[in-house]
């Protein structure tokens, strides 16, 4: 248990920045006692990949979050699917952090086939540069992310390499503006 705690604190100490939304501020919300089952899941990941690759953001009852660099995400995701037993992506979303000049793409993964994991959601997140936002796609591992990734492309401008259709999905055909979920896109009149 204590090693888990030290790992979280290490992870939080490594990245300090001034914005309110860094992973550090989020991890301050954790309980003082890390839950055991979730901790064991994160343990497996960190043992396999090392804590330089897999940064643990928080470990809460039922919810865990890790941060991975974009070019390593495919192997981490394969490990999560094959060894840990998470078999589908519930949602894929992107959040724009203009202060950090990054966009965070976060995959919420869960499991239908494993009983103990069915109440767990593992949030696999990665941060891509805002101006050069490309990352490899995970649809070969988690097929259910296909439409969500396409929507993230059109709403935030993140290009998924390997995804067959990086195209407009929900927006109108004549959309000629910047991707709307970026923070510099203002709704007219507000």
């Amino acid at each position: 248990m204590s090693s888990d705690q030290s790992k979280t604190q290490n992870g939080s100490e490594q990245k300090k920045s001034s914005s309110d939304l860094t992973p550090t501020s989020i991890s301050k919300k954790t309980e003082s006692i890390t839950p055991q089952f979730e901790g064991s899941l994160i343990n497996q990941l960190v043992t396999r990949f090392g804590d330089k690759l897999v940064q643990v953001i928080y470990v809460r009852p039922g919810r865990t979050k890790i941060l991975v660099p974009p070019n390593e995400i495919v192997q981490v995701a394969s490990f999560i699917k094959d060894s840990l037993g998470f078999d589908h992506a519930e949602s894929v979303s992107g959040t724009d952090y203009p202060n950090d000049n990054q966009i965070e793409v976060i995959y919420h993964l869960s499991s239908y086939s494993d009983d103990k994991l069915s109440s767990q959601i593992l949030a696999l997140s990665t941060r891509v540069d805002r101006n050069e936002s490309r990352m490899p796609t995970l649809i070969n591992i988690f097929r259910s992310a296909e439409y969500h990734e396409r929507e993230t492309f059109e709403m935030l401008g993140v290009y998924f390499e390997g995804h067959p259709r990086n195209e407009r999905f929900l927006l109108p055909e004549d959309w000629a503006d910047i991707p709307p979920l970026r923070k510099e896109f203002r709704i007219k009149g507000r």
Partner: protein, 385 residues
Amino acid sequence: MENEQRIDETISRGLEIVKEAEEDRLMTLSVGPQHPGSGHFRFTIKVDGDYIVYCDPDPGYVHRGEEKMCEYRNFIQNIPHLERPVIHDSTNITYSYSLAVEELANIQVPLRGQYIRALASELNRQVYTLYWLGIYGIFLGHSTMFMWPIGDRELFIDLLEALTGARVTHAFNIPGGVRNDMPDGFEERCLRQVAYFEKRLAEYEDIFYNNPLFRQRTEGVGILTKDDAIKLGVTGSVLRASGIPFDVRKAEPYDVYNEIDFKIQYMKTGDSYARSTVPFLDMKESCHIIRELLDKMPKSGEVRAKLQPNPKGPAGESYKRVESGRGALGYYIVSDGTPKPYRVKLSVGSFRNMLALPFLLIGSKLADMPSIYWSLNYWPVEADR
């Protein structure tokens, strides 16, 4: 050498002609937004005779930018526009939003408020499923299967109107509880109407589900195996019809659902008939849940936690999900310490189930298109947000 070249050219030209002829044989149909069989949704299909060979969904006709709008309003102001994606299931879509905000801002909901919230959620589930069943009847050409559920749905809408003040789009759930308490006499009325409805459900089973024509049209059609269902990540009744007993109310019980005893209804065949029966079984189970909730509810108490005018919490993020009529509805909310959320993402059941649509339609007959499409429990407005 020249001979061979000419033969090659002739053969390749012949193949081209055959390919052109095949392309010519395909007819492109746009089951578009102006079609009585699609709702506010468009998908393009290519048909070879009677078989569908290509399907491409094209949502976005009702896209309003819900997620962007959430960033401009504070946590309470987001409720009225967040319930518009599914107007008749509005308590469920604001339920998980309230749960996520309560976790972010650390708000504790009083017990009676939790029970009333769960009761409104179950009543809304009935309303939505009856509407879905009615439209399924229209798609199959059965007008009585439209009229009876819509007529019975009025019972629950009247109940919800007495409880919340509006027939649909109730704006009843807010972070912290519910807006107001139950009126007098609500319990007896609710129990009476649930008893009447259970008799009607028995009639539905006789007339609709045991109808040989209905069975012929839906059995064995659009089979989604268990592995495919897991791989595609479908949710809700589509998942339960393929043999996976997963219900968010049982997997991670929220509010008072860990005190309610009910069974997950699921079927193993995975065809359209199973997908149309699972919501019906869910409705039956919901009647028991409503009775149990009314039974166990504390007789008096607060229904809402007192909040400050602009509630906010420390910076953080939260992911909460509830079981709505279409499946697991999840909210991912990121807050930066201000009263307005930094990012709100809805993960709706319809958007996830849409992935199964091209997968199931390709290879099936054109006449099976309505029974597959609507059995996926797809609500176009919700998928577009």
